[in-house]
């Protein structure tokens, strides 16, 4: 190994590593706390001083997915618990009367998230290819216009959208939310995908065109396979945005198409806020994003800067 002036010395590396690790632990602590709270009982969760290790229980998850009523001792006696979740509820003198709305809300998030991701990546790929390869009048202005739509404050946009959706019968529907999120995500997908397609050498398509391919064929047989990684990472970014979005969801949806982010904070137990249930909802909702973030780590920078910084 050759000596390099830019290579930091050993102690330097150690100190840097320790400091970064310390910050990393502080940063991850609230997230670990969410996950650990979800496995605590309601009393352990609000114990003073806060308990790091409490008795393990799935009570939070059971509360999250079910609605319950208080039962008299005789009624409980008469109906012995049949399943493990019945048993958890029974111990608190309650009985399950049905599922909660969390499952529905979670499914809404899935439907709206995947629907809008598919649409925005599909339309985005077409537009990005055109912007990358063809001469389009006012190209720079169009690209800036597309980017600027992403910057707009959601609350300000929500006023006319609210009126428009009401007029078209789209308020509180899946279709309305999918269209809205698609429009918001299009800017990201066009900018990111244009960057990815710009990187594919034009020679490949030109060779294909000379071989007798049409433009369409060259696009889907040559360019698309080359851009597959880019398309996949763009899709994950769009999905994460739609998954996390709160402002539009809270203003434009209520009973039918409400997604999980506006719902989770409204989970309330019998006695005040049921923190283990809230934490359970948050855990189920956040862990998939954490996994995707780890998968995406090579493309993160590109995604969050609209493809400006490539690493």
């Amino acid at each position: 190994m050759s000596y390099s002036v830019t290579e930091p010395s050993k102690p330097q590396k150690w100190i840097a590593g320790l400091l970064v690790a310390a910050y990393g632990i502080i940063t991850i602590l609230p997230l670990l706390w969410i996950i650990s709270t979800s496995f605590k009982s309601q009393n352990d969760a609000i114990a003073y001083p806060p308990e790091v290790f409490s008795e393990f229980t799935l009570g939070g998850y059971v509360n999250l997915f079910t609605t319950q009523t208080r039962q008299s001792a005789e009624a409980l006696e008469a109906n012995p618990p049949e399943t493990w979740y019945d048993e958890i509820v029974h111990e608190r003198g309650m009985a399950i009367v049905g599922p909660s709305r969390f499952g529905e809300r979670f499914m809404n998030s899935v439907i709206i998230g995947f629907g809008s991701t598919f649409l925005s990546v599909f339309l985005g790929t077409l537009a990005a290819y055109a912007f990358s390869r063809f001469r389009i009048p006012l190209k720079d202005d169009l690209l800036f216009f597309i980017l600027s739509t992403r910057m707009m404050p959601p609350i300000a946009v929500a006023i006319p959208i609210f009126l428009m959706f009401r007029g078209l019968g789209l308020s509180d529907t899946h279709a309305g939310m999918i269209l809205l999120y698609t429009a918001v995500n299009l800017s990201l997908s066009v900018w990111l995908l244009k960057g990815f397609i710009d990187e594919i050498p034009r020679e490949y398509e030109e060779a294909a065109l000379i071989d007798g391919y049409t433009r369409f064929q060259a696009f889907y047989k040559v360019v698309l396979p080359q851009a597959a990684t880019g398309i996949a990472s763009t899709a994950i970014f769009c999905l994460i945005f739609a998954w996390n979005e709160y402002a539009f969801a809270v203003l434009l949806t209520s009973g039918n198409a409400q997604t999980a982010p506006p719902f989770i904070p409204t989970i309330i137990g019998v006695t005040g806020q049921d923190w283990p249930a809230v934490a359970a909802g948050a855990t189920i909702f956040l862990v998939p994003v954490m996994v995707f973030t780890i998968l995406l780590r090579k493309h993160l920078l590109r995604g969050i800067t609209f493809g400006a910084v490539r690493k």
Binding site: P30, A47, A127, L147, P153, A158, I159, G212, R215
Partner: protein, 315 residues
């Protein structure tokens, strides 16, 4: 050449269709590809925008659809721009904006500089630090109210342990003086990694040869830092600051879940105030003028942002 791809397509699809596809010029294809995107953005962004501008000159109220809509000219704008309460929300936003940017730039740059020491496992720690940024601000903000509980909250316990203060002696989101800082802390926790990642990209874009040349000239490490590292990272830092500035100027989800704008109006940021005008007091015309003011400000900042973006791209 009977087996060329175009022949296969020609036999696979009806000849009429094949001829039509073949006949499309690049120009037509370009328009077919771009049109849906432009159309959707026109329908969901530009059309509502024009509608907002129109409404901003009226006294329309959504909850009174039968009342006469009057044309009031610039009256809504005059009222907003002379209202000390709206001005106060701008100042609350300014406090939030300035402190989050200062803290995120300082911590983010320091972290990036440390990670760039290339110690073992730096990838792992980078990934861990980045996690909060990708999560739902509303869900995380809501959970932070639990961490901020006096007595039982993790935050108060840890701060109490470190400073010796009793954990139940202060309430981050209940105290008028502390609440503006409670939102700064959570936003910094969430978005420092963003600034860090961009700074890291800036640091990695500096070629080693520049430092080697400086070493030959016997420039001190301190001097190298201020004459090479900082100026080379600055365009990247500009990008991060502008982006965070725009995002926090329109901040809504995190703060609404964390403090709901309270106590009093101490954390009522502009977007939260706008939401109340538009969706609680239903003063649609007034709120539209309010929205236009925010639009123009964000649009102006976005044009500067794109300029900074192109500058970074050129490198």
């Amino acid at each position: 050449m009977p087996d060329s791809p175009s022949d296969r397509l020609a036999t696979a699809t009806p000849s009429g269709v094949a001829r039509t596809i073949r006949g499309l010029s690049d120009r037509t294809i370009a328009w077919i590809f771009v049109a849906p995107t432009i159309f959707l953005l026109l329908a969901i962004n530009i059309f509502p925008l024009i509608w907002t501008i129109r409404l901003s000159f009226t006294n329309y109220r959504v909850n009174r659809p039968n009342a006469d809509v009057e044309w009031v000219g610039l009256q809504n704008y005059q009222r907003i721009l002379n209202d000390p309460d709206v001005w106060a929300t701008m100042q609350a936003t300014a406090h939030f904006l300035i402190w989050t940017i200062v803290l995120q730039v300082l911590i983010g740059f320091a972290l990036a500089w440390l990670i760039n020491r290339k110690f073992k496992g730096n990838d792992l720690w980078t990934t861990i630090i980045v996690l909060p940024m990708m999560l739902s601000p509303a869900v995380v903000g809501n959970f932070w109210t639990f961490l901020y509980q006096p007595q039982i909250g993790l935050f108060n316990t840890v701060v109490g342990y470190l400073t010796g203060a009793a954990p139940d002696s202060f309430s981050m989101i209940g105290d008028v003086a502390l609440a503006p800082w409670s939102i700064v802390i959570v936003d910094t926790w969430m978005w420092t990694p963003f600034v860090m990642l961009i700074c890291l990209a800036g640091l990695r874009s500096i070629p080693d040869s520049i430092y080697e040349a400086a070493e030959c000239d016997r420039a001190s490490a301190w001097r190298q830092f201020w004459t090479i590292t900082v100026p080379m990272v600055l365009p990247f830092l500009m990008l991060a600051v502008l982006f965070r500035g725009i995002e926090n100027f329109k901040m809504f989800d995190l703060v609404v879940q964390l403090t709901g704008g309270g106590p009093g109006n101490t954390t009522t940021l502009t977007a939260i105030d706008l939401k109340r005008e538009a969706f609680e007091r239903w003063r649609t015309g007034y709120a539209s003028a309010y929205a236009v003011i925010l639009f123009v400000t964000v649009f102006g900042l976005a044009s500067i942002y794109v300029k900074a973006l192109n500058k970074v791209k050129e490198r």
